[in-house]
């Protein structure tokens, strides 16, 4: 990865900011001149922080299937989130929560900053991205339910 590119992306990830339409409040991950939802001009819109907590709608992942051995590698969990105003936002899910998977759907997840799962060389800069993660309370609540179901 290019160092300049890395710094630009890291700054964006650290701030957790998206561009926000002044007219309808829709978030956009990149700068656009026109809002994709209401069509209002966004040339003068300013960045705004994403909501700290959102509700999980769908879970998935993408991993590499090793053809000959029926193995998987590089599980990259992702979660579709619904912001308080109803907007859908897709974000990576923390690897530590990957095991909970679909059980997290319907739960409130928090926006956190984590290292990205880049396949870069050891001498490359470390990259960070925004991910969603379950809170300690949510994890405990799911564990309790699991114990009860047993």
């Amino acid at each position: 990865m290019n160092v300049v590119e890395n710094w630009r992306n890291r700054a964006r990830a650290l701030r957790a900011e998206y561009w926000r339409c002044d007219a309808c409040g829709t978030f956009a991950s990149v700068r656009r001149l026109v809002c994709t939802h209401c069509g209002a001009k966004m040339a003068k819109s300013s960045p705004a922080r994403l909501p700290k907590t959102m509700s999980a709608v769908a879970f998935s992942h993408a991993h590499f299937v090793v053809e000959t051995m029926d193995q998987i590698e590089g599980l990259r969990p992702v979660m579709l989130m619904r912001a308080p105003d109803g907007q859908l936002i897709a974000l990576p899910l923390c690897e530590t929560d990957a095991g909970l998977g679909v059980r997290l759907v319907g739960e409130g997840l928090e926006l956190v900053l984590r290292r990205s799962q880049s396949d870069g060389r050891p001498d490359e800069a470390i990259t960070y991205v925004r991910k969603v993660a379950s809170s300690v309370a949510t994890r405990a609540h799911l564990k309790r339910n699991e114990a009860k179901s047993r």
């Binding site: 991950s29 709608v57 998935s60 993408a62 998987i72 979660m79 936002i89 974000l91 679909v102």
Partner: protein, 348 residues
């Protein structure tokens, strides 16, 4: 404006051509159709995943050079998995508006030099790199999210996707006398992006297809009535309604120009969920309709960028029950779509 005809088409069956380069594949597909026909313009799209191809620009110039064509116009189109459709659209406009009399459209892909994981990563080129890739979202994971969201929003089961793949496999098996597999069989494949399994993603293979367009003289086997394109917000989750593939419905409406939906439909999509949503976005034909008669990308395998031309070749070479065809090619997760309306002459 002139009527455009499809004079000839030639395809290499999608496969792993270990001993051929991207250029070899393109020449092999194009040589038979330009042997006794002068192509005044060349429109080409080449997808090569190897180190050599990554540094090659202007693939159309390479194709024109190796075919020995002294064409005034040679244009290279790169639109990821719909590159062939973009080349066809440009060629159709050139012939229709009298910029040339004959146009050769060539699309080829050489992906067997790389691993299966790297082949799947080629689909990431269809995404908005700044909005999606930088945020840690890949093509496959978003296809999985889209499928999950579709199931919860429409009250469907994930079987809907494998059933769509199975129908394509069945069409291909019928054509090549292969073994028919059911949706239940496919459902047992390895999970690639929950709830999608590996067979929900079209297998990427090597191949090439060449199509020659000419001004219609009523002797040609098929007429390319119209080619249209439409786009949507590239970043999937920033669309107002991610389940409504607006690009597909808009491109189809432009291509049909008020005519009824044909009874033969070809949909070229990278994943079964994209095919299912594209079908939902299209107007329904009056009666029964046949889809992907030769298996489409999901059945016989997908030649990245060239698959829209394979659909066109099907219209010429297959023995269809109807003469009217709409071929729809969908980029990535529905960010752009091309639609071609083809009328096949009864005598052909």
């Amino acid at each position: 404006m002139r009527t455009v005809a499809i004079a000839r088409a030639n395809t290499l069956p999608p496969s792993n051509y270990w001993n051929r380069s991207l250029g070899d594949l393109a020449i092999e597909a194009a040589a038979p159709i330009v042997a006794d026909f002068e192509a005044q313009a060349v429109f080409a799209a080449g997808t090569g995943a190897s180190h050599v191809q990554a540094h090659q620009a202007d693939f159309a110039a390479i194709v024109a050079d190796r075919l020995g064509l002294n064409s005034r116009i040679s244009l290279t189109l790169d639109a990821a998995d719909v590159s062939g459709a973009a080349a066809l659209y440009t060629a159709w406009i050139h012939v229709r508006h009298g910029l040339c009399e004959t146009a050769l459209v060539v699309a080829a892909a050489k992906v067997s030099d790389v691993s299966e994981a790297e082949r799947l990563a080629l689909m990431d080129r269809t995404l908005d790199q700044e909005a999606e890739i930088v945020s840690g979202l890949s093509f496959a994971s978003q296809a999985g999210l889209l499928a999950g969201y579709y199931c919860s929003a429409r009250g469907k089961e994930a079987n809907a996707f494998t059933d769509a793949s199975a129908a394509n496999y069945a069409a291909w098996a019928k054509h090549c006398e292969g073994t028919v597999v059911t949706g239940a069989d496919l459902r047992r494949d390895l999970v690639a992006a929950l709830p999608l399994v590996r067979t929900d993603f079209a297998q990427l293979l090597d191949g090439a297809c060449a199509v020659l367009l000419t001004v219609d003289d009523t002797k040609q086997p098929a007429v390319l009535d119209s080619v249209a394109t439409a786009g949507d917000v590239v970043a999937l989750w920033e669309r107002p309604e991610p389940l409504a593939f607006r690009a597909v419905s808009d491109a189809a409406a432009s291509a049909l120009r008020g005519k009824a939906m044909p009874c033969w439909l070809e949909i070229d999509a990278a994943a079964s969920v994209v095919q299912v949503l594209s079908l939902d976005a299209l107007p329904k034909p009056c009666g029964a309709f046949a889809m992907n008669l030769m298996g489409g990308s999901q059945g016989r395998g997908r030649v990245l960028g060239a698959s829209p031309l394979y659909q066109l070749a099907d219209a010429i070479t297959a023995k269809p029950p109807c003469t009217d065809l709409l071929a729809v090619s969908v980029a990535g997760l529905g960010s752009r779509a091309y639609a071609a309306h083809i009328s096949r002459r009864a005598a052909a």
